[in-house]
Amino acid sequence: MNEDEHSENFGGASVLASRIDASCRVPLLALFNCAALWLALGLALELLASLTFHMPEQFGNCAWLTYGRLVPAANDLLVYGFAIPAGLGVMLWIFARLSETELVLPLMSVIAAHIWHLGVFIGLIAIFIGDSTGFAWLEFPRGSSVLLFAAFLLIALSAVATFGARRERALQPPHWFLLAALFWFPWIYSTANLFLVAWPVRGVAQAVIGWWFANNLIFVWLALVGLGTAFYFLPKLAGKSLHSHYLALFAFWTLILFGTFCGIPAGAPVPAWLPTLSFVASLLTIIPLITVAMIFIKTIRGAEVQCQGGPFCYIKFGTVAFILSGLMLVVSAWPGCARILEFTWFGQAQTQFQILGFFTVAACGAVYEILPRVMNFELPFPKFVRAQHWLFMLGLAFLILPLAIGGIFQGIKLENPHLAFADSTDAVIQFLRVSTIGWLLLLLGSLLFAANLLAIFFKWQCALIKAAVAAVNAPLETSEVKS
């Protein structure tokens, strides 16, 4: 693709670019608005769950608010409520822009977005009333997962149709990552639901399939969409081209090749070849991580753009968080470390860093970059963008560091046979209490995000109503008056 031509479009100068943006308006609003609300609600539930470590007795009489229901509900809101719809919205826009064509089947995406959010709502209620499936990251029951699956397929259809209508036939690096992600989710989600929920396999094979699904969703899918987004926006915002197609291709191949085999814990009660294969793959995952780091550094080096807490900051922070959380994954697979870190908070720190530090930050940055173009007006609260960036950075520091460090202490005490179990919980409880601050800061940040998005939505609605009223009040043209 011609870079100059594209960056011109990106500036929103050309008529074509604004037509493309306008075609994405309603689907993207439908995806992003509810996603922002789910993000805030998910973080609020995480905060409530975290209060259990301060006052374990607080919700003793309320089944809905017991820790074991709050945590899966909150985690699923972060992934299914926010990450996937936000990722899909960003993806639709990137496809339309790269294809230099208006979004194909926009109405279907709008309907699908509403089906998706309805599915999340049903799933959330189901977890609260005790109807969860009991598998990590797959807690939503059948009724909800059917809706999610159908909605994903419809949005994917719109994305693929837009991709098929592209004017420039050659593919860009973001294309590879985003297309693979479109293919990935239906496969893993249908497999997990068929083998675990609809016709459950017997015994511990359930756990293996559960780990395979969770890894492919949380590590691979988020990485594909997040990196696809980063590889689109980093060069644009830095005003340069992506460092190297070949490196990006290498990162893509090694990520899907090794990443998909991670996730089976070392000491699992399954035949030894499963964790061993997973262990080798986890170590090799260092290769795509290093490649992404090289691409990242070489792409942004020398860029004379001040990010000032704006989208560029978000995407840079997200990419660094991806590399760091990936390194945490590699470390926790290393045999000596795995024995200590398995069953500790370190794994939770890694997962949350992946979801919140990498994906959520990168997606929020992309949304802030896209929305003003799509709506054709500036953000209502531009100062919130920078404030949210700071809140997220501080919140992540207060969340990830205590959990990771506490997890290491916990693991060392768990591994020492001469210590009672209570020593390991005592070692980690203060760290868990500190992490509450992290959840609070993240929640505040997400409220700023939701405020911006809702204000945009209402501003748009008001403009629509005004236009409608004006149309009603306008005098009829003479040609329309029947004689």
């Binding site: 089944a63 969860s132 593919l171 893993i188 899907i256 090749l257 996730g263 009660p269």
Partner: protein, 272 residues
């Protein structure tokens, strides 16, 4: 890459490979597993859990117990003890030999060589094998958890984090249903500084009509219901406790062998 079709092939091949490895193979290898024989015994393992325990697993799932508890014990390895069962005719020489040899905490090879030396001197020995590791010495189990332990469970609730202790053998370790009920109602009243939230919603407070219920919890004064009322467990609470008490993986199997406690003096299986 020039076309979307190649991306499709790339994703299909890589994800398909991991699907074959981590979905198809476990589903056919582990998913068709049957009960196995208990080592040195004619019993088979595992037996299906009793009906109330099967229902209890659903309470365990509903309330997300796996968010804080694992049900999988790990071990770092094995160790062997050589036990002299009969000194034979030349008992002085055998006893001298035994006093010189190291006989506990041996590897399999060391145990075999010690046993053959004693046998050569005319004594008779038995080799006892036991699992080692932090979980084992903490009393969480006699051996590591293996795939067979979860044969009847649906959903399998292995758990991934130990906010609370492992429960793989809680039925052997804390086999007292009153203690379990009390612990669910008020964890802090039986375990000091416990971070576990109470599950009061699994109990109901009701007016005593006629004689008090035999199920009523015997609570300390601070927690007891007001006069004329009693706190009784609901069916969910009873089923959950039945499930917890059914959690015991304490028979030797081919892939997780150990010498059962009644013949061994060293195995940590001795109940405290």
């Amino acid at each position: 890459m020039k076309s979307g079709f190649r991306i499709f092939i790339a994703a299909f091949v890589t994800l398909g490979a991991s699907w074959c490895g981590f979905v198809l193979a476990p589903a056919s290898q582990l998913g068709t597993e049957k009960q196995t024989a208990v080592l040195n015994s004619s019993d088979i393992y595992p037996n299906q859990r009793p009906g109330d325990a099967t229902l209890g697993l659903q309470v365990y799932r509903k309330d997300g117990c796996a968010a804080c508890h694992t049900t999988q014990v790990q071990q770092s390895g094995f160790a062997c003890d050589v036990v002299l069962t009969s000194a034979g005719k030349n008992s002085v020489a055998v006893k001298n030999l035994v006093s010189k040899l190291k006989l506990s905490g041996l590897t399999k090879d060391e145990a075999d060589s010690a046993a053959s030396q004693i046998t050569a001197a005319g004594g008779k020995t038995e080799t006892h094998i036991f699992a080692t590791g932090a979980d084992i010495s903490r009393g969480w189990g006699i051996r590591r958890s293996v795939a067979e332990d979860f044969l009847w469970d649906d959903p399998v609730q292995l758990g991934s984090i130990r906010v609370g202790p492992d429960l793989a053998n809680v039925g052997a370790r804390l086999a007292n249903d009153n203690w379990q009920l009390l612990h669910l109602y008020s964890p802090q009243s039986v375990v000091k500084n416990s971070a576990m939230p109470p599950f009061r919603f699994l109990f109901e407070t009701r007016k005593i009509v006629g004689a008090p219920s035999p199920d009523a919890l015997n609570l300390p004064k601070k927690l007891a219901a007001s006069a004329g009322y009693e706190i009784v467990p609901t069916d969910d609470a009873k089923n959950l406790v039945a499930y917890l008490l059914s959690l015991r993986a304490d028979v030797p199997l081919y892939d997780a062998p150990f010498t059962p406690a009644q013949t061994s003096t060293n195995a940590p299986a001795t109940k405290k």
